[in-house]
């Protein structure tokens, strides 16, 4: 009540956009507050990470997170990302044989898997999980999919662009993404020519990237599409290229403004609309706060976001210091994505796999195939993460991860069949395999090794989480770090650390954050 009233006073008084209402009255972060903040902005915070934030003010904590943000990945990318020279891919008209096309496809699948593993490694290793979370957020906002783009290299470059701007400026990000080669392919900009416009990008940039549905007319799309004609890529370098001879130089009218606009000018028209800031802030709210945005707060933050020329940190700072973020009803209100579940669990339990790809495959099996969102709208998230199939895949993954003393323990790879076919043992022995099949077998073995490389020492973990001598107290401490809300069932055997952890991670409450 009190802070909200202040908010409006401040806004209308035109005070500096960084100042936030909550600054005036927020209590220091408790353990539960710090845990909530770190799990919403990162993945599976450990007890010692949480302790570092206890006692900070909301503003200090948000500042620390935002100041720690990165613009590049720490993990070295796969070697092929450094390739220079003309891109190799079968082009229409070059009469590539079916075999060449197949080999190209297999190569891209392999590189795509490496790319997924690389990003998962970065999520595990990064000192700024918020950077990766925002990169993933933008990946799900400015969707492109390797299913259509094909070239893993272009998906990598897009990921680099998303990370570079992840906590930077939304306007810069929008302009960068519009000319990002993977996006140019994904939304058919390369097919958008004077006289025969392709409206795909123009439509999605308004509906999904900026204004949101219903904030524009069909005619705006048609006109905007003309402004983007000629935005293309150079087929040798795979870099953006403007082709002036297929660009429409006529006058266009978009959202009431007329002129001989080019694509960048149309993007600026979209950024000038208040609806754009509100659309993005509403989505950030659903990502970080709760599934039900508070419209008054959204428009407040959106106004400050736009006044700050779309500085993403301003919006995030407002969100991370808001009362709604820390409100009781926001706690445990979000469903963990497969990335939350897998990366969060690995980070939480200090599990460092020797090979990350199997975990990226497991994430894909639970419905979140990185670099391949289901369609241009991205993963719808929240409750759609959980159906009977994905919930059993999640539980089976967790169950095998914490099976414990079983020496042949291997965490389940839910539904790996679809991604890497099992190889018949006898074919291997008879040496009948073509090189590609042999490679697939090696891949499967690496996957197995990656899974087996993960070890969990339950007693060690328990000792890091709690020093209490009393088993019931230790169980309560473990529960506090692992669950955002009370478990549905009292854990079995609180004295046995492995049984306790198993019981807590298999509880429905562990699916929430």
């Amino acid at each position: 009540m009190f802070p909200r009233a202040f908010t409006f006073c401040i806004l209308f008084a035109g005070v500096s956009p960084i100042a936030s209402a909550s600054a005036l009255g927020s209590a220091p972060l408790s353990y539960d507050d710090a845990r909530h903040l770190l799990n919403r902005t990162g993945f599976g915070a450990t007890s010692s990470e949480i302790e570092r934030y206890v006692g900070m003010s909301r503003e200090q904590a948000a500042r620390k997170l935002l100041d720690g943000a990165r613009t590049t990945a720490l993990t070295p990318p796969p070697a092929w990302t450094a390739e220079v020279g003309p891109l190799r891919y079968p082009r229409p008209g070059d009469n590539a044989s079916q075999m060449e096309r197949k080999l190209f496809q297999q190569e891209q699948v392999r590189e795509g898997l490496e790319l997924r593993g690389w990003w998962l490694s970065e999520m595990l290793a990064t000192p700024s999980p918020l950077t990766e979370r925002m990169t993933l957020f933008w990946h799900n906002h400015f969707v492109s999919s390797q299913q259509k783009v094909k070239l893993a290299l272009l998906m990598y470059r897009q990921n680099v662009t998303l990370r570079a701007h992840a906590l930077g400026n939304f306007g810069d990000l929008l302009h960068a993404v519009a000319r990002d080669p993977a996006m140019v392919i994904y939304l058919d900009s390369a097919q958008n020519r004077k006289g025969t416009p392709n409206e795909n990008f123009a439509r999605e940039v308004m509906e999904l990237f900026t204004l949101g549905e219903g904030r524009y007319a069909e005619q705006d799309i048609k006109e905007a599409a003309r402004a983007f004609t000629g935005w293309s890529i150079d087929r040798d370098s795979g870099r953006f290229m403007f082709r002036p001879f297929i660009h429409d130089d006529g006058v266009k009218t978009v959202l009431g403004k007329s002129g001989n606009f080019d694509g960048d000018e149309v993007l600026d028209i979209l950024l000038a609309q208040p609806a754009t800031a509100e659309f993005v802030v509403r989505k950030l709210w659903r990502e970080f706060v709760s599934p039900d945005p508070d419209e008054r707060q959204v428009s407040r933050i959106a106004r400050r976001f736009r006044d700050a020329r779309y500085d993403i940190e301003v919006a995030l700072n407002d969100i991370f210091t808001s009362d709604a973020f820390y409100a009781k009803q926001s706690r445990a209100s979000l469903v963990k994505s497969p990335i939350d579940l897998v990366v969060g669990t690995l980070r939480q339990f200090n599990m460092a796999p020797s090979e990350p790809t199997p975990f990226a495959v497991a994430v894909a099996g639970m419905g979140q195939n990185l670099f391949s969102p289901p369609n241009v709208k991205g993963w719808p998230g929240q409750e759609t993460w959980i159906n009977t199939s994905s919930l059993l895949a999640r539980k089976q993954f967790l169950e095998r991860l914490f099976r414990g003393d079983d020496p042949s323990r291997m965490a389940a790879l839910p539904r790996t069949e679809s991604m890497a076919p099992e190889m018949p043992r006898q074919a291997l022995q008879q040496g009948e395999l073509d090189p590609e099949k042999a490679r697939q077998i090696r891949f499967m073995r690496e996957m197995e090794r990656g899974m087996q490389s993960v070890r969990f020492d339950s007693s060690k973990w328990m000792s890091q989480v709690s020093s209490a001598p009393d088993p019931a107290r230790r169980a309560a401490d473990a529960e506090r770090v692992l669950l955002a809300t009370a478990p549905q069932a009292e854990p079995d055997a609180p004295g046995d650390p492995l049984a306790l952890v198993r019981s807590l991670v298999l509880d429905a409450a562990y699916q929430l954050k």
Binding site: S97, Q98, M99, R101, K102, S145, Q147, K148, P291, Q329, A332, S333, L334, V335, G365, P374, N375, V376, K377, P380, Q382, E383, T384, I386, N387, T388, S389, S390, L391, L392, A393, K395, Q396, E399, P414, R415, S418, T485, A486, P487, Q488, A489, E490, D492, L506, D507, A508, A509, Q511, L512
Partner: protein, 398 residues
């Protein structure tokens, strides 16, 4: 041990102030489903079986327009020789691998739907199957499957084990999204093992938790119903598809109450070396369907079963340079069952009038096929779930 017999006395349910009502209770040691009509008046005793031909089946070599010289001109290598075709009419016939279906055709229980597709077809596997699964328009993105929308407006009886069972694919397809009770499983034994990890107990303190508990309850309800092991006399083919059909037959035998079963038969993306692959896949399809029919006859259920095939698209009429075919548009599909009015429906592909990218138009909108299943099979309205009025195809006997 059933997943519901976990001793509850060791577990203290946590009750929280302000909690919502208990959302999920473990199902009682349920007896057989009472065949009460669904609240909506829909007749979900009739089973719908969807067979997905994943990858995009070559409709042109499935139902062959063998009287067309254009067909033979477009496919110098891949065309099926006239003398090998299992003829259905003086212009259409089946691929020889589908010959086992002829007895069903002769009993007039096989309807052949020619040219099933939609306007502005999309040639991407992902996007096009999404269009089929959500029954959306080509440029429209919907989240829920067409059956999910159906069951939300006309629910199945609560006593049913599930709305639908998805066999052989983790992807829920037409049952995705919403509040549908869809169970995905490879086979019932494995599902029952996995289902032991489900525990639908406690109170839902918010919407997200309520949803998870509901899904856990769905798993447990299905698991408690799907444990019978019927001893069929029918021998099922030892193929992936044969196993899936066996699982489907077990589910029917359980009489647990399931409105729809979706079985996926994959591998139809035949860009190269098509003849051998396609013949094998169609052979597996035919032997699986024949076994299914025999199993359902044993159960006396063939008359209460409608089988429909579907796929994201057909394949391009002109063969490619690798002895295969590329992504196409409309395709031929089958409807089978004891109440099917056998015969040829739709139109043969107009091979003389191909589009700019070398594909055919469509004769039957796939949503008309769905409308048939909804209105004429189950007796539920179709305009809502399908986003518009689509005329059913008269493939069912009154």
């Amino acid at each position: 041990m059933s997943p519901t017999s976990k001793s509850t006395d060791r577990r203290r349910f946590l009750k929280r102030a302000g909690g919502l009502a208990v959302v999920a209770l473990a199902p009682s040691a349920a007896t057989r489903v009472a065949w009460a009509a669904a609240p909506s008046g829909a007749d979900y005793r009739k089973l719908l079986v969807l067979i997905e031909l994943k990858g995009g089946n070559d409709g042109l070599n499935t139902v062959v327009p063998y009287a067309s010289s254009t067909y033979y001109a477009l496919r110098p290598k891949l065309a099926i020789a006239r003398d090998q075709i299992a003829k259905l009419s003086d212009s259409a016939g089946l691929h020889p691998a589908l010959e086992p279906l002829l007895p069903i055709w002769n009993q007039r229980e096989l309807a052949v739907l020619q040219g099933v597709g939609y306007p502005s077809p999309n040639l991407s596997h992902f996007r096009s199957i999404e269009i089929w699964d959500t029954a959306s328009r080509s440029e429209e993105y919907l989240q829920d499957g067409w059956l999910t929308r159906t069951f939300s407006s006309a629910p199945t009886p609560r006593s049913f084990a599930a709305d639908g069972v998805i066999i052989g694919s983790p992807d829920l397809g037409p049952l995705a999204g919403g509040g549908t009770r869809a169970i995905a499983l490879a086979n019932t034994d494995q599902f029952l093992r996995q289902a032991r990890l489900a525990a639908a107990e406690g109170q839902a303190r918010n919407k997200a938790l309520a949803h998870i508990l509901k899904v856990e309850a769905d798993i447990m309800q299905a698991a408690s119903h799907l444990n019978a092991n019927y001893a069929f006399r029918t021998e099922f083919p030892q193929t992936g598809f044969g196993n899936a059909i066996k699982t489907a037959s077990q589910i029917v035998a359980n009489q647990a109450g399931v409105a729809v079963v979706r079985v996926t038969h994959g591998g139809f993306d035949t860009h190269s070396g098509q003849p051998a692959t396609h013949a094998r896949l169609l052979g597996e399809l035919a032997s699986g369907i024949v076994a299914f029919r025999s199993a359902l006859d044993e159960l006396g259920k063939w008359n209460d079963t409608l089988v429909l095939t579907y796929a994201e698209f057909g394949r391009r009429p002109k063969e490619n340079l690798s002895n295969g075919t590329d992504h196409g548009t409309a395709s031929a599909h089958f409807a089978l069952g004891g109440r099917v009015a056998g015969g040829l429906y739709g139109e043969q592909p107009a091979l003389e009038r191909l589009s700019g990218d070398g594909n055919t138009g469509y004769a039957i909108d796939f949503r008309s096929v769905y409308a048939t299943a909804l209105e004429r099979w189950w007796g539920v309205p179709s305009a809502g779930p399908l986003g518009g009025k689509f005329a059913p195809v008269p493939i069912l006997r009154a």
